[in-house]
Amino acid sequence: MVNTLEEKKSLKGGEFLLKDSSYKDTFIPEEMNEDQQMVRDMVLDFIKNEIYPIDARMEKLEEGLNELVLEKAAALGLLGTHMPEAYGGLEMDTNTNTVITDYFGSVGNGFTVTYAVQTGIGMLPLLYFGTEEQKQKYLVPAISAEKKVCYCLTEPSSGSDALSAKTRADLSEDGKHYTINGQKMWISSSGFADTFIVFAQVDGDKFTGFIVDGGTPGLTLGAEEEKMGIHASSTRQVFFENVKVPAENVLGKIGEGHKIAFNVLNVGRYKLGAMCVGGARKGIDLSVKYANERNQFRKPIASFGAIKHKLGEQTIRLFAVESALYRASHLMQELKHDLMKGGKSFTEATLISAEEYAMECAILKVIGSEMSDYVVDEAVQIHGGMGFSEETAVSRAYRDSRISRIYEGTNEINRLLTVNTLMKRVMKQELDFLSPAMAVQKELMEGTTTPLGEGKYGQEEKTIKDFKKAILMVLGSAAKLQMEGKLNLKEEQEIVMNISDMIMDTFVAESLLLRIQKLGELTEKPQSQEIYDAILKVYFTDMNAKIAKDGMDAIVSFAEGDAMKGLLSGLRKFTKYPPINVKKARRLVADTLIEANGYCL
């Protein structure tokens, strides 16, 4: 499967940790082509014209509005940009789809969830695992929004441990239908869905996907949940009481429901990461405007250092995550393109490329949702008392953002998954972890250091290499103890979380560096290179401290005595990014936004 990657020397999933990357191979949002810019503007116009005027009514979950907006989006072709032409889609490239999802994130109400469910976890099971008949019957009307779809996986007693679902399906004696019994919970879009993708245990132990038509006798809904946020999204329980489903509505194979669930979640996570970026961009924009408008002590609060720190930091974190989003998107796009050139269908290529970069998708979900929560939290703070009032958009943004750390796999599950996926790939020998880990070992023994890279960003290139070495050292040592039977990482989730954070922070820091190196070569860009350099340096300073802390927490949790001392000394060596004046750099970034009175990067 990965032959094409090897020929092109593109990175495999997770391989960013083990190899150097070149900025020439990445995609940055400043390179959006004319079509992508037009698509972006179109999404923003759609939100402005079709959602803002009914926003307050949507927030009250007024009946029919989610459906109406989905139908209007479908009429413009917005729901099928990632779907094959044969089913009414447009087969647009991954980066363009990332732009669409990113900017849909700025809707500012729970319709983001409705959109993500319909186009993601709703359509993808049908695309990936549906038979031709199922696609014609359910996918085509999902793309045109004639049918609204929901995805029923979670149950009262099974959330993160999804495969332990209790809902069961039993085949009738004549083999013509299954009878489903059970209960699903937190089902987004269920209040108006026509098609239910349902997971149930066939004979009580074979986890399997089904397509169930809304209105089938025995399928009933609970009341709308009273949620903390995303009020515009419908969320209900779904009950199945002797619901008879034709045998041809089994989705995929019996006992292979986990394949549907996991593959769909890969894309779901990347999409969620993208939407968090769009939402955060809007949060920063609101923050800047308010800080400029609000006067205290006879000055706009934007003129105070405490507020500039917040605006600068919001922007730096968003910019870094945005860099990671478009980098991962481009990796998926390149692989998909190669697979299609090699004869795979659009659908197969979509599935394989998301599976290959499952680790990067999990990373995007975690870093996107945590960055978004930070941005909206500070947006409320900048708004002061007004931010605590439901009158302001940031209050809702704060509530709406919180769910992103929970659904599509909690951030804790995704952190575990990141390290697990990496280790599984290493064990299967899909990734060569051993050689670089040995090289780090050798370097520590010999006392050599990573040389500075060439050019303006030589220090940052060296720092990224060092961060990777720190991870190889810590993870390699833990893995060695595990193999010797002296450590059981399954029972030491705190250590896995530490290592996972180091991996994620390194992925984002490297993505940011690649973007800024590429920006250095662009003559036309939104801001001067000095601003981008300030972002880079602050982020590297912060990640250096964070990786040092996470590495130390991990080391002292599993190593003792001289081994611990040796590892800590190595860690210090690998986290030596030189100090810079971060106050000045953050102010430079903040002042740029304050001057433009909005997000302008």
């Binding site: 079509d35 810019q37 037009m38 698509v39 179109m42 447009l90 647009m92 909005g598």
Partner: protein, 246 residues
């Protein structure tokens, strides 16, 4: 029905306005551009609606450099059939009108649309000048337009009311709010835009008799003076002596 829509590229409505070169030129640094909303939302969309109802074609025309192509392609994405770009800097209204008129004459259009004004210089001149060059009637500030079989009814905004005008094609009309509603280009439109013809033609010689001497920004807002509600005499004094409004 052959329809021509004049479109202009203008700074985004949120742009910060500044001038250079002794206040005689608009400072374009850091400016992002859009299609002039009056041209896009009202003129172009109404022309497309008429084509959809009666058949025919919609051509858009712009006078400007190659960097305007992106704006032109947005018009194609919204639904215009083809485009003409006159490859010249739009130096003045008269110059631009002459270029448009030359192309309009050659194309033989039934109706030429403009927006009621551009949101940058707010000249409202192009429509009337094009009509003059073409020796055709001009209807300004059109808020509705029905046309079929060589005749048209145009409602236009006048002070305090609406005037209804009937006339035969060909004519030139400038479109104001109400003539149509903004239409968002659909995905297929965006994908098709690059495949539609965008013909670049060179300008004809034209007079450019006026020269912009300078631009002046409105005076900056001054601070607010707070007057104690108990001290109304002071308020009256300030309104009289400082604000000089009573």
């Amino acid at each position: 029905m052959k329809l021509l829509v004049c479109i202009s590229k203008t700074p985004d409505t949120t742009s910060k306005i500044a001038f250079t070169n002794g206040n005689s030129e608009f400072d374009t640094s850091g400016i992002s551009y859009i299609m002039n909303p009056y041209d896009e939302w009202y003129a172009l969309v109404r022309a497309i609606e008429l084509k959809e109802a009666n058949g025919g074609s919609v051509t858009v025309i712009n006078v400007g450099p190659a960097s305007n192509d992106q704006t032109i392609r947005k018009a194609l994405a919204i639904g215009a059939d083809d485009a003409i770009r006159v490859n010249a800097e739009p130096k003045s209204a008269m110059y631009v009108a002459k270029q448009i008129a030359e192309q309009a004459k050659a194309g033989g259009y039934d109706i030429v649309f403009t927006g009621k004004e551009t949101i940058d210089y707010n000249g409202s001149e192009i429509g009337a000048m094009v009509a003059e060059y073409l020796d055709q009637p001009f209807i300004s500030y059109g808020v509705s337009l029905e046309a079929a079989g060589g005749n048209a009814t145009v409602k236009r905004d006048i002070e305090g009311g609406i005037e209804t005008v009937e006339l035969a094609t060909p004519f030139v009309v400038s479109a104001a709010k109400g003539m149509a509603e903004q239409r968002i280009p659909n995905m297929r439109g965006i994908m098709m835009a690059k495949r539609k013809p965008l013909n670049v033609v060179e300008p004809v010689a034209a007079k450019d008799p006026s020269v912009t001497v300078s631009f002046d920004l409105p005076p900056a807002k001054t601070g607010v003076k707070l007057v104690d509600p108990e001290n109304m005499g002071e308020l009256v004094r300030l309104l009289k002596e400082e604000a000089k409004i009573i």
